[in-house]
Symmetry: C2
Subunit: 347 residues, 2 copies
């Protein structure tokens, strides 16, 4: 039997654990896997492109478990009431090849992206950071706010979106979460005085959400929205003034903010900061940037976390996705078993 | 909601439809997809190797649907009571990127492999073929026998396996299926006088299951067991005397019987025989070989068939694998919905 964690399971699980505790637990798994980065098999993602969008498979393995995420990107989906991005994932046992967990990954990707951002900021933002600006109040914004509060204690937010509905949605969603929220009327107003700037817009172009003059010394920029070819949020000059930290350089140079820069633009790998092999923040004047694009190991960590946290709970069901004939050579014998043995496990 | 077809669903579905009718329907889908071969995106499979085995993702797309199969190969699994190979598959809608079907594929791979073999033989074996030899009575053998009876009317079998338990299992499994079965004591005895020879052993080496002197003129060889690097069943001399037909040459040259031959060894693509672009059998004296390794389009056909055949039946359940927020930007809002909306769909 394979354990199945669907959308309602994830929602109920997060409610049961509490979203702060869930994000803290998830961040621990992500950090643990970043710290053993070199153990992972980092396979390129396998993409199938069409006129409407892309479907990708993102596998990785640490030698004990194998995991992959299925994820699509279809920009026109919202016009049909569907999401641009949906995802699901599978975790398997490398020693047998059998899958052990199938999970929704749309919510989990939102959660792991935010947990990774906050984790990076724990290493890169000034220790006395109190205020975060969030530019772009789309699907990822609440997760970011909650992760930064859970991991860094950030309670003061300065937020901006060009769309008033998005602002209302954000305020309504985090209304009961004890944040001090200033709604800015411009991006400039939002970032003024902020210790951390999170850019997480849905703009599908090479946009300039942050221009160089908006960014003061000592700031940490959590650049989340620039995450595919042709989509960036930061003016190149900011990147030149800052130290840029990335997940997996080969992928970030194609998908991240640094796609604007030369192929040898210097970056530091986040895992090396965590292990101490590379410097993170060195002074209070330095500008640090986490050029987040999302990497397969983070999904792996999320699957591993889910797998562990649902054991002994009601937050999963069993799927009969694998066969278990008494004699492995007698596959056909499954068609001859009595009905009672074949009772559907998911009914 | 994503439709889920598990092992017990497949077993019950096949019982309900009847395995002959199921194989005929499946073969129609496979043939339809072979005939539009050029519409398919043929991506290399993505393999993750470990000391214990391999885990592979095999995607393909026809522009309307996208499908992939997850499949492992772990030779030591049977010693732990597990199967060497397990598989599951997913079918998606290319226009939205949303998955629409998740299915077990261990049984379905057994069925599609046999249906493809029989389909190839329909084009390649002599029209008056009446008798089939089967060498190797492992997990795939019953499926082969049933598919050849369903598609070609073969009722006379001459079977051989080195393991008496495998013979007993085979006889017991097809005992109620109205075959005329001769159990041979040697492979030579099995193939004597057979119109079609199916080799489907589990031998993990470059073995010689069929030597050149065992194969007379006019025979069709359905070579199923040689399906990965280092695993072949036919003596090279047979290949030189015969015309060899393959699914996807790039893959078969690595995995099939023709891995023994030079890289330019001539082969004919099965899809071209089906469309009439290439010759199949040209005379009653010719030896034809279907060098079967299994290709992603066959899994795609199987997923497409399942998807169509389960509609309006009880042979699937629904999985909440994708999110459906009222506002696609309000992903976080799912955590704030009333319990009733979140009733687990699989409970």
């Amino acid at each position: 039997m394979v354990q199945y964690v669907g959308v309602s399971n994830v929602v109920e699980l997060v409610r049961s654990v509490g979203i702060d505790a869930f994000l803290l637990g998830l961040a621990d798994y992500i950090e643990e896997d970043f710290r053993r980065w070199e153990q992972f098999e980092k396979t390129p993602r396998l993409a199938s492109h069409s006129q409407m969008g892309v479907i990708e498979l993102m596998p990785t393995s640490d030698g004990q478990h194998y995991g992959f995420k299925y994820v699509n990107g279809h920009p026109k989906n919202p016009s049909a009431g569907l999401q641009t991005v949906t995802a699901f994932g599978v975790l398997s046992d490398v020693s047998t090849g059998y899958p052990c967990l199938v999970s929704e990954m749309t919510l989990m990707t939102g959660l792991r992206t935010a947990a990774t951002s906050a984790l990076a900021a724990k290493y890169l933002a000034r220790k006395n950071s109190r205020t975060m600006a969030i530019i772009g109040l789309g699907a990822q914004s609440e997760f970011q706010a909650l992760a930064f509060r859970a991991l860094l204690g950030i309670k003061s937010l300065r937020v901006y979106d060009i769309d008033a509905d998005a602002v209302s949605k954000f305020r309504s969603n985090i209304g009961d979460k004890d944040f001090d929220v200033l709604v800015a009327t411009t991006a400039e107003e939002a970032v003024a005085g902020a210790d951390i700037i999170t850019t997480v817009t849905a703009d599908k172009r090479n946009a300039t959400i942050l221009s160089d003059n908006m960014v003061g010394g000592g700031v940490h920029i959590n650049a989340v929205g620039g995450d595919c070819p042709g989509k960036t949020e930061l003016q190149g000059d900011i990147l030149r003034r800052a130290d840029v930290f990335v997940e997996f350089p080969e992928q970030t140079r194609i998908e991240g903010e640094i796609q604007q820069m030369a192929p040898d633009f210097p970056v530091t790998e986040l895992w090396q900061v965590m292990t101490g092999a590379a410097n993170g923040r060195r002074s209070d004047e330095q500008i640090t940037i986490f050029d987040s694009v999302g990497f397969a190991t983070e999904d792996f960590s999320a699957l591993r976390y889910l797998r562990d946290i649902v054991q002994g709970t009601a937050f999963y069901t069993d799927l009969d996705l694998t066969t278990q004939p008494e004699d492995p050579r007698n596959l056909y014998g499954l068609f001859r078993q009595p009905e009672t043995v074949l009772q559907r496990s998911v009914a």
